[in-house]
């Protein structure tokens, strides 16, 4: 029934001669309201039984486990590259012993949450957008609805919960992998031992650094899930609509992740 209302509101949105300000501005506000309603519906459905435990686990596997190879490779390379690039600058004033501290702060505070979110937006966001978009245009979502299954709960709630909880997990994993990459580089050039390296890493990182990154990652994960599901769930008819849903899911999610990063940076800096 709610889906029906949203369809009808979409139709009304297009009616000529009904614009409050102008067609384009009206459309932006209608879209924003639609997204707001989508998020409100997510929270409503997420906390109401029956819960889709099995499907949530399946989606966590899709989002988390299947992203592990990509996150591992990217994290390790980022650790090595960032260490090598930073070494040049630090070496100019003889500060290469600060490398572990610098790497850890950069990775924990910014690189790991942001890179994990970007990887997830590209891999998971597009997958969710395309999958739901294709289900929408081939009437699979309608088929679910007529068989008395709430498609929003089964498809949207499970995916958004999976991204919200798996992206912070992947982020923590990426921190570890990137630090290992950094260690390989530091050990090779400065002959620093594993213990010394990690003592310096843990001395440099504070609880607030880890905590704020975790909170950011929850937010990024939620954003990626909501954007992918929203775009897929509302994709227009036809295969072109599926491609568009996948593409806009990635672009919009990345854009929002960067804005959230900027805003959270201001808040965390103020807290610090």
């Amino acid at each position: 029934m709610k889906r029906m209302d949203s369809n009808i509101s979409k139709v009304n949105e297009e009616k000529p001669g009904r614009h409050v300000i102008s067609k384009r501005i009206d459309r932006i506000f209608a879209r924003l309201f639609d997204i707001y309603a989508f998020i409100v519906r997510f929270f409503k459905e997420a906390f109401m039984p029956p819960y889709e435990g099995r499907e949530i686990v399946k989606q966590c596997y899709e989002v988390g486990v299947k992203s592990l190879p990509l996150v591992s490779l990217t994290g390790f390379i980022i650790g090595i590259v960032f260490t090598n690039q930073s070494r040049v600058s630090l070496a100019e004033f003889g500060g290469t012993s600060w490398l572990p501290a610098l790497i850890s702060v950069a990775i924990v505070r910014a690189l790991a949450p942001l890179v994990t979110a970007i990887i997830a937006a590209g891999k998971v966001g597009s997958q969710i957008g395309a999958e739901l978009g294709s289900m929408k245009v081939t009437e699979q979502i309608d088929a679910m609805e007529v068989s008395a299954t709430n498609p929003f709960r089964f498809l949207v709630v499970t995916r958004v919960l999976a991204t919200t909880f798996m992206i912070p997990t992947l982020m923590m994993y990426m921190i570890f992998i990137a630090l290992m990459g950094g260690y390989v580089s530091v050990h090779q050039h400065e002959l620093t031992s594993f213990t010394t390296y990690f003592i310096q890493v843990f001395n440099a990182v504070t609880f607030l650094d880890v905590f704020s990154s975790l909170i950011k990652s929850f937010l990024f994960g939620f954003t990626i899930g909501v954007v992918g599901c929203y775009k897929g769930y509302h994709s227009s008819k036809g295969t072109q609509g599926v491609g568009k849903a996948a593409n806009t899911s990635v672009v919009m999610a990345m854009f929002l992740v960067f804005i959230e990063e900027l805003l959270s940076l201001q808040i965390i800096t103020a807290l610090r």
Partner: protein, 257 residues
């Protein structure tokens, strides 16, 4: 021509629609539709593409909401029931989609099991397997149980789509263009299947089509949707024994082309 089945109980209306109106944008799709479907009857809704045939069954199944008018399905007024009651009602309505709408990521068995897992939590795996066997046998596709939908032909997909709706033993079947995109032989097989479903599962059905062969072979009664209203109604011969140019054109296009 289909023999009118003796199972039709004209004293029992399963669907009653009065003055149903639905518009999209400025376009009035349905302009006061009246319809009655009786117990055990196969009712064919004929009409050109874009005349609102699919909108009609989407309203009946609760996928779309009517602008005005009465839609009473199995004694429930759709405008007055809660979402929970809509879900309960949907278990009694089977909807066979034009493109089958099988879940691509699931095997045929999982497709058939899905409505059972969601709605019949009291059933064990053995009982579910038995019910799957029965519906697969009814659509003559027992061998496809472990295949993926992408591995099936258009006709087989339609059959599995029908099997998936049958698994919950619906009282009403809604077929959206059951023969669209199929070759004539497969279309005849689907028409046969629709009649078999009616006889074996004692369903009442609405069949949306623009295929006159399908209408002739499956319909106990035929209604023709023209200009957003039902303009002709009766047996196949009664409907097409008309001087209306639009009706004649529809007939000629189907049988001469």
């Amino acid at each position: 021509m289909k023999k009118v089945t003796s199972r039709i109980d004209r004293s029992k209306q399963v669907i009653k629609i009065r003055d149903l109106r639905k518009s999209f944008d400025e376009f009035d799709v349905l302009r006061g539709v009246d319809l009655d479907l009786y117990q055990g009857e196969n009712l064919v809704v004929l009409g050109r593409s874009g005349t609102g045939k699919s909108v009609l069954i989407k309203i009946i199944s609760g996928l779309l909401k009517a602008d005005t008018g009465l839609v009473n399905v199995l004694g429930c007024d759709l405008s007055k029931i809660t979402p929970k009651e809509v879900d309960a009602l949907r278990l009694k309505i089977g909807f066979s989609f034009q493109n089958s709408a099988l879940y691509d990521s699931m095997t045929i068995k999982e497709n058939l099991q899905f409505p059972l897992i969601r709605n019949r939590r009291d059933l064990g795996q053995k009982e579910m397997d038995r019910m799957i066997e029965v519906v697969l046998e009814a659509v003559d596709l027992s061998q496809s149980i472990n295949q993926m939908p992408a591995e099936l032909s258009g006709g087989q997909r339609k059959r599995i789509g029908i099997a998936r709706t049958l698994i919950l033993r619906p009282e009403i079947m809604l077929y959206d263009e059951p023969t669209a995109g199929l070759d004539p032989i497969t279309s005849i097989e689907i028409n046969k299947l629709i009649n078999e479903v009616q006889e074996r599962f004692n369903t009442s059905s609405i069949i949306i089509t623009h295929d006159l062969t399908c209408a002739r072979d499956t319909g106990d009664r035929i209604v023709m949707l023209l200009d957003g209203q039902f303009q002709r109604q009766g047996s196949f011969a009664e409907v097409f024994n008309s001087d209306d140019e639009r009706v004649k054109a529809f007939y000629n296009y189907n049988f001469i082309d």
